[in-house]
Amino acid sequence: MKRFIGFIKKEFYHIFRDRRSLFILFGMPIAQIMLFGFAITNEINNVDIAILDHSKDATTEEIINKISASKYFSIHQFMDREADVETIFKKGKVKAVLNFEKNFSKKLIRDHKATIQIITDATDPNTANTISNYVNAILIQYQKDWNKDITIAYQIIPRTRMVYNPELKSVYMFVPGVMTIILMLVSAMMTSISITKEKELGTMEILLVSPIKPIQVIVGKVFPYIFLSVINAIVIVVLSIFIFKMPVQGSLFLLAMESILFIISALALGILISTISATQQTAMMISLMGLMLPVILLSGFIFPISSMPLPLQMISNIIPAKWFIIIIKGIMLKGVGLQYLWKETLILVGMTIFFIALSVKKYKIRLE
């Protein structure tokens, strides 16, 4: 036991001696969470649009004013010819062109009906669709003002309540997601690299013939990283509470325990990666290339899992990050306890045990 503690101490020294890595290790998550918390949003604001007004009358002017006054759109330019729409789209200057038909006002007064074309650059389907919805919403409001003297009989009035995130802040989506990628990648990458490094440099052999048991070698290597990751997790949670005003409705203690569980699962994955790779390069490429995109795309961090095709929804189940994101959101935003999260927690525990068991098996084979 004394030897083991000595070994852990050595590993700590190793890490703390390398100032540059430490700086990177702690600086990066802070920089990333700040950047993403403030910068990234999947809302649509200030979309540049162009106006093609064939009518140029009081009504179209009023509508254009309404549109440019909304926070969703800023009018990039006024155009005269339909033929220019193609050019302006190809340059990527605007995302949409609103095309008002001729005699707009007259038609509206005479026939009670007039038409606007919303031409969108639908290479980005989401933006195109949202633009179209927003323009419609503004127009509906405009028509309501115009029609307000007409009483409408029979109406169902929906009273909508947005729960858990009433202001629809997208930072509530991004903070748990960024926290997850940071913990996942840093933990898995660090462990896999530090173990393969010993292998590559030949020092692993030396460790293995020493009186320290192989399992102790692994635990000793992993332990300092658990410590570092926990500090990282604390920093991220503190930042998200104080800077982004993320609520923690549920128990902080539970959040801490679940984070440790997730860190251990990521470390176990790191160990597994190190057992199958011979060089640091391979270990890094597996943890970066193999984990980064799947974690970002399949965890529900950015894209809703329920909209994915069924096979992908099934694949997402084997991504530990998915379960951790559900857990963090549950604790922080919904304020639920273990009675609601036991399933996700059990899955994480199961995965961790599986990774460890598999690495132990692989590890033994390598030694024989």
């Binding site: 540059r20 990066m28 920089a31 403030f38 910068a39 990234i40 949003t41 999947n42 809302e43 649509i44 200030n46 540049d48 789209f89 190809k90 990527g92 509206l108 009906k113 007039a114 606007i116 074309q117 919303i118 639908a122 290479t123 933006t127 669709n129 028509q143 029609n147 007409i150 009989a153 029979y154 169902i156 929906p158 009273r159 309540r161 947005m162 729960v163 858990y164 629809l168 997208s170 990458m189 660090m190 690299i193 530090s194 490094k197 640091q280 391979t282 890094m284 490429m285 290339m289 980064m292 995109l293 799947p294 399949l298 950015i302 329920s306 909209s307 994915m308 694949i315 549950g330 639920v336």
Partner: protein, 373 residues
């Protein structure tokens, strides 16, 4: 020239000798392109929908039937009580809850209006917004139907004005998400592979000690660097080629623009990435450090590239930051050329900025590379 060729030969041999790396360089990225492109969609469908019907009237049943008929909603159970329903919502079993109060039908007939409770799980704010739109559309249509039923006989009211909108979705009529995501993800994979490989490469020689051996040879700095980086450039272009073929064959992504233009741009772009990789290599002592830095920038570059979330929605300072993001330009160019058929003239700003970037990065990299340690 001969020296460079030897170095290139040596590097290629080294890459291809490492059997473990080959699948990681070629198979893993392409597999991800094929699989993950399907995951990236902001469409909101299969919404888990629950309701509490306290009225049990024909109107309330008709309303629920409307939701059932919609393709967006998976209508689940009629929950017997609010407590059970909110517990289900906490568990994440339902996203949207409709509460139909008692006397809903009676209120509608006598008072001419009735209230309806809607609760939406808004943790994903964007999805919640879309769900709200869907719910309101269905209710609006239901409203209109009731009005029609009643109003037909005595339609003497003033006719309200109606502004009709005709949405036209250019370049992607069916709003197919894959068309949009495949070029973007391909860009990512090409970038990640070339950055990680080049970033690790020289620092690896440093760490193992072989760089010292090279330094004592008469090889020139520039020869060494060109020889080192050229193979990664080739790998990047190779990945792009296979990726484009897969994009066409599997996803049928339209390729309106010129392939030559795409290759021309990519050939400059990869130089930027290689310059960054080399620069990282020069400033780090171990592969571990190099990878942390490369990873740090990659995550930032990816999330701030406009690939997943629009750049226009970012605050002004963040938009300015994206000017320094090479992935941003690559994503823009790929989407513009492939999907809209933009020409050299249209992407000239991106080409110029990328070329300048390549020049600066490689200049810095060569400058900071010291043959003597």
């Amino acid at each position: 020239m001969k020296t460079i060729l030897y170095i290139i030969q040596k590097e290629f041999k080294q890459i291809f000798r490492n059997k473990g790396m080959l699948p990681i360089i070629f198979v893993l990225p392409l597999l991800q392109l094929v699989i993950l492109s399907n995951a990236a969609t902001f469409e909101v469908k299969n919404i888990k929908f629950g309701y509490i019907d306290k009225d049990h009237s024909s109107t309330s049943r008709a309303l629920v039937e409307k939701f059932n008929a919609s393709t967006y909603f998976n209508v689940l159970t009629d929950f017997p009580s609010e407590a059970i329903a909110s517990a289900e919502m906490l568990k994440g079993e339902i996203d949207v809850l409709l509460q139909i109060p008692q006397y809903f039908e009676r209120d509608l007939q006598i008072e001419k209006h009735a209230n309806l409770g809607i609760t939406i799980n808004a943790i994903d704010g964007a999805a919640a917004g879309v769900e709200n739109v869907y719910v309101n559309q269905i209710i609006q249509r239901f409203n209109q139907n009731i009005k029609m039923d009643v109003l037909q006989v005595s339609d003497k009211q003033v006719q309200p004005i109606a502004i009709e909108t005709i949405p036209l979705f250019w370049y992607n009529k069916t709003l197919n998400y894959k068309t949009f995501m495949v070029p973007g993800i391909l860009v990512l994979l090409v970038t990640m592979i070339t950055l990680f490989l080049s970033g690790m490469n020289i620092v690896r020689e440093k760490e193992i000690g072989t760089l010292e051996q090279i330094n004592v040879t008469p090889i020139k700095k520039s020869q060494f660097i060109i020889g080192k980086l050229f193979p990664f450039w080739v790998i990047g272009m190779g990945l792009l080629t296979i990726g484009l073929i897969l994009a066409k064959v599997i996803f049928d992504v339209p390729m309106l623009g010129s392939l030559t233009l795409m290759y021309f741009y990519t050939s400059i772009y990869i130089l930027v990435i290689l310059g960054i990789g080399l620069f990282i290599s020069n400033f780090t002592d171990t592969q571990q450090q190099a990878m942390f830095i490369a990873w740090f920038f990659t995550v930032i570059f990816i999330l701030m590239s406009g690939l997943f979330t629009p750049i226009e929605s970012m605050p002004k300072w963040a938009q300015t930051l994206t000017e320094f993001n090479p992935i941003r330009y690559f994503v823009e160019v790929m989407r513009m050329v492939m999907l809209k058929g933009s020409g050299l003239n249209d992407i000239l700003p991106q080409v110029l900025k990328t070329a300048l970037y390549a020049f600066v990065m490689n200049g810095l990299a060569v400058w900071s590379y010291k043959k003597t340690t």
